[in-house]
């Protein structure tokens, strides 16, 4: 034995290399047909139940399995899908949706108004414990039903008056309510299916859907398979099959894209350092998002209880450096409502002005930053946030003479502190649930749970409340302008920094894929380019 080993000391390794070579010869590079589209989801979707899902990964799967009453058009306005039309009655307090009668579930049954009524009431049911239940609180009695004050769900203001008519009664004219019907949480559900399968109803074989694709397989933590729905009422998608992978590591996902084993990557799969290189390749795209990043101040404590100090800090930030540092096509922003949304107004807000910033700080009693108490800027641990924080720290030191200490915290610890004891300056951001300024401006209302800076201004509350009930778009925009001026110019509890832009890259053989400003991946119209498919 020893002699043999002496003669061939590396035999086990040789054997292994042979095995490796054998497997590599067997690899199935040609397995994927032309009509299989592969994307990286990056992680396992936490839930495919659209009453319980809360994250964009789950919604990106759901958005390809289901359609609802409406969807966004190119201008981010709700356009008809299952609802062929709607009427707004009673001064905006009642909306009646008229449904198409040719929309079918994947098991052949018709989609009826009752399916919407069931889904909305299920979302509101306290037993469902849905995180998004509050989204429908504008409906009559919805909030009381969710809180358990009413147990009879027939009192909730959503009702199918017949198979094709859905009537919604609102507590007050909510101008943004129609936009909510584009959101996946309002998609219809089948009571019989959910009651039959319980918590397992979203598994392949059980789930019943109505969208362009069907859930063909779900290997948890590994892969989701979709197949085209031949009976989809808007026409069968060109792509026959979709494979959605769960590759968490960005560099690995990118390697697979470059090997031709993945056809589409979004921000979850593209490392910051690789963006400039990828930006030069065909198929790369920057997609501006309805998502804003901001720094907030704890306005209930010194030194940021003085608006002059807050303004000085806001005016000492040169936002033009962020796109250069983050390399993702970020759009510098001084106002809060993002581009693409009603009432976006880039003229609002405090621009970079170091002399004025220094003057304000001097006026507040801290000439050249002298005597400024030690303050901390907190952000959740992420490379992206660190780059921004370090840049801002430098600007404040240079322009104001104030050295702010940086502190990064693990995500949940960070959230807990924001809630209980926010640090003097903190990082936060917001992405739209539905493309309406109401969703963005309500964050800073005095009663909002997201108002971490603890800032209160009754005039601001009143303006956004008024805007929410105003149906005339021009008047709404004016009201939001006034509210934004208070937020970003006068009181400045927050400093908007930039609007987030996502980087995406699509295999150049494909076209028609849509990645929208809320990070939704829509594969319905994706197809092989003509020249390629003819080959």
């Amino acid at each position: 034995m020893l002699l043999r080993l002496r003669k061939y000391p590396f035999r086990p390794i040789l054997v292994f290399l042979c095995v490796l070579a054998f497997y590599s010869c067997n690899r199935t590079s040609g397995e994927h047909g032309e009509k299989v589209f592969r994307v990286n989801l990056s992680t396992e979707p936490p839930s495919l139940d659209w009453s319980l899902a809360t994250d964009h990964i789950s919604f990106n799967v759901i958005a390809n399995l289901m359609v609802g009453l409406t969807e966004f058009d190119k201008k981010l306005k709700p356009a008809p899908v299952i609802a062929k039309s709607w009427e707004t009655l009673d001064g905006g307090r009642k909306i009646v949706f008229h449904l198409r009668d040719d929309v079918a579930w994947s098991d052949g049954k018709k989609v009826r108004a009752q399916d919407f009524e069931y889904s909305w009431k299920r979302l509101l049911n306290p037993k469902t414990a849905s995180e998004y239940a509050y989204s429908l609180f504008d409906i009559v009695n919805a909030e009381d039903f969710h809180h358990g004050k009413i147990t009879n769900d027939s009192l909730v203001g959503v009702q199918a008056t017949d198979d094709a008519t859905l009537e919604v009664r609102l507590k007050y004219p909510a101008s943004y309510f129609l936009a909510l019907t584009t959101f996946e949480i309002t998609y219809p559900q089948r009571q019989d299916v959910i009651e039959k399968f319980g918590t397992k109803w979203t598994e392949p074989g059980n789930i019943v859907t109505n969208g362009p694709f069907l859930l063909a397989g779900w290997k948890h933590e590994n892969e989701i398979q979709l197949k085209a729905n031949a009976n989809f009422f808007l026409g069968k998608p060109a792509i026959e099959r979709v494979e959605m992978f769960m590759i968490n590591e960005m560099t690995t996902a990118l390697a697979m894209y470059e090997q031709g084993q993945i056809d589409f990557l979004d921000k979850d799969s593209i490392p910051i350092v690789e963006k400039p290189r990828l930006a030069k390749t065909p198929g790369f795209k920057f997609v501006p998002q309805l998502r804003g990043e901001y720094y907030g101040f704890a306005v209930d404590r010194k030194p940021f209880n003085d608006p002059r100090v807050r303004k000085a800090f806001a005016m000492a930030i040169d936002r033009s450096v962020f796109p250069k540092l983050l390399r993702g096509g970020e759009l510098a922003a001084t106002s809060w409502i993002p581009p693409g949304m009603l009432a976006h107004n880039p003229k609002i807000g405090l621009v970079y002005n170091p002399p004025e910033a220094r003057r304000l700080l001097r006026e507040a009693g801290y000439p050249d930053g002298k005597g400024f108490p030690p303050v901390t800027l907190t952000y959740n641990t992420l490379e992206y946030n660190k780059i921004v924080a370090e840049a801002v720290q430098g600007m404040w030191k240079r322009n104001l003479g104030v050295l702010v200490r940086l502190e990064n915290q693990e995500w949940k610890v960070f959230l807990k502190q924001l809630l209980n004891d926010p640090s003097p300056v903190f990082r936060s951001g917001w992405g739209a649930d539905y493309p309406d300024p109401d969703n963005f401006t309500k964050l800073f209302a005095s009663y909002s749970p997201q108002n971490y800076s603890r800032w209160k201004n009754p005039r601001y509350d009143q303006l956004i409340e008024q805007a929410a009930r105003e149906l005339n778009e021009q008047k709404r925009a004016r009201l939001y302008n006034d509210a934004q001026k208070i937020l970003c110019e006068e009181d400045v509890p927050i400093v908007p920094l930039f609007t987030v832009t996502e980087s995406t890259v699509l295999n150049p053989r494909y076209t028609g894929l849509e990645y929208n400003s809320m990070g939704r991946l829509v594969l319905r119209d994706a197809r092989l380019k003509k020249a390629t498919s003819e080959k």
């Binding site: 969710h146 979203t202 590591e249």
Partner: protein, 305 residues
């Protein structure tokens, strides 16, 4: 022997209980809860969610509920992966980690045994130095660097293997090597030093003096005695490797259990963290028990005790 086994089993159960309790307590001390989000929930909405998962109950009651469920083998519902039970998640992911772990450990042993043997037999020659160099490389190269290197070489440059994902037999090759590197290096070192020590013992000299062939001296007398420390290390190594590796599973997108040791903590998915911790502890306890039993096979002196 039976008494020994029983004693060890009871002891193992106590260890399990202590670990489960400690995990429970530590998780509640950790700031931030499972449903804290950037999008903060209105208190009433939060109250309904807490009621659903019994998080509104006093801690002692939650603990009682948890232990009672654990005894029944029910690890509860995941907070993050809504509608999925932790037992089901572990049943899905653990086999993947276990297959990969067993492959990696077998590979590690297959490579480490000849390397350690060669290094000790050819002490202070170039062969020894080459083996030690390889082992040092295995210990000092972090998993994520080795993984990335392997992907770069075998997938991007040579195009032999798929960069990541689990499914075909070939997809296990790169993660197996990456996962095996560290245990392989540790085993090589240990075997080498243990063998060197044994080779200096009197009974080896006696065996040689009796004129036994070198191969008989080495395999019949030296190697067998040198395997005891290696076995001791194999127990915990088995548990570590089989429970899954966070880094390897991330880099190669392996749907295993190892990733939950990190992600479940960042998500504050209490039942999932407790589930994977309990499973890991159980594997560790079992692996050590098996090693104890194997001692008596390798070393007859142990049987007397």
């Amino acid at each position: 022997m039976l008494r020994f086994l029983l004693r060890r089993l009871v002891f193992g159960l106590v260890v399990l209980w202590v670990v489960a309790t400690l995990t429970f307590v530590l998780l509640r001390v950790l700031p931030g809860g499972p449903f804290d989000r950037e999008r903060r929930l209105p208190p009433e909405v939060m109250a309904n969610i807490e009621a659903k998962y019994h998080l509104n109950e006093p801690l002692t009651k939650q603990y009682g509920r948890y232990v009672a469920a654990l005894v029944r083998g029910d690890l509860g519902p995941s907070f993050k992966f809504i509608d999925r039970d932790v037992t089901a998640i572990i049943a899905d992911t653990f086999p993947v980690s276990a297959i990969l772990g067993i492959l990696a450990l077998s590979f590690a042993v297959t490579v480490a045994l000849p390397l350690g043997l060669l290094a000790a037999t050819y002490r202070n020659t170039w062969i020894d130095r080459a083996c030690v160099f390889l082992a040092t490389l295995g210990i000092s190269l972090p998993n994520f660097v080795l993984g990335a290197l392997l992907i770069w070489l075998f997938s991007l440059k040579l195009g032999w293997l798929q960069a990541a994902r689990w499914g075909q037999p070939s997809s296990a090759v790169l993660p197996m090597i990456t996962l095996a590197a560290m245990p392989c290096a540790q085993l090589t070192y240990l075997l080498r030093s243990s063998l060197l020590e044994t080779l200096g013992e009197d009974f080896i000299r006696t065996a040689r003096a009796k004129g036994l062939r070198e191969s008989v001296v080495l395999f019949k007398h030296a190697v067998r005695n040198s395997l005891i420390p290696v076995l001791t290390l194999l127990g915990p190594l088995f548990a570590i490797v089989v429970a899954g590796s966070f880094v390897v599973e991330f880099v190669f997108a392996i749907p295993g259990m190892g990733r939950f040791f990190i992600t479940a903590v960042t998500d504050r998915d209490y039942p999932l963290i407790m589930g994977v911790t309990v499973v890991y502890t159980a594997i560790l306890v079992c692996a050590n028990l098996v090693v104890d039993l194997l001692y008596s096979v390798v070393d007859p002196r142990m049987r007397a005790h």
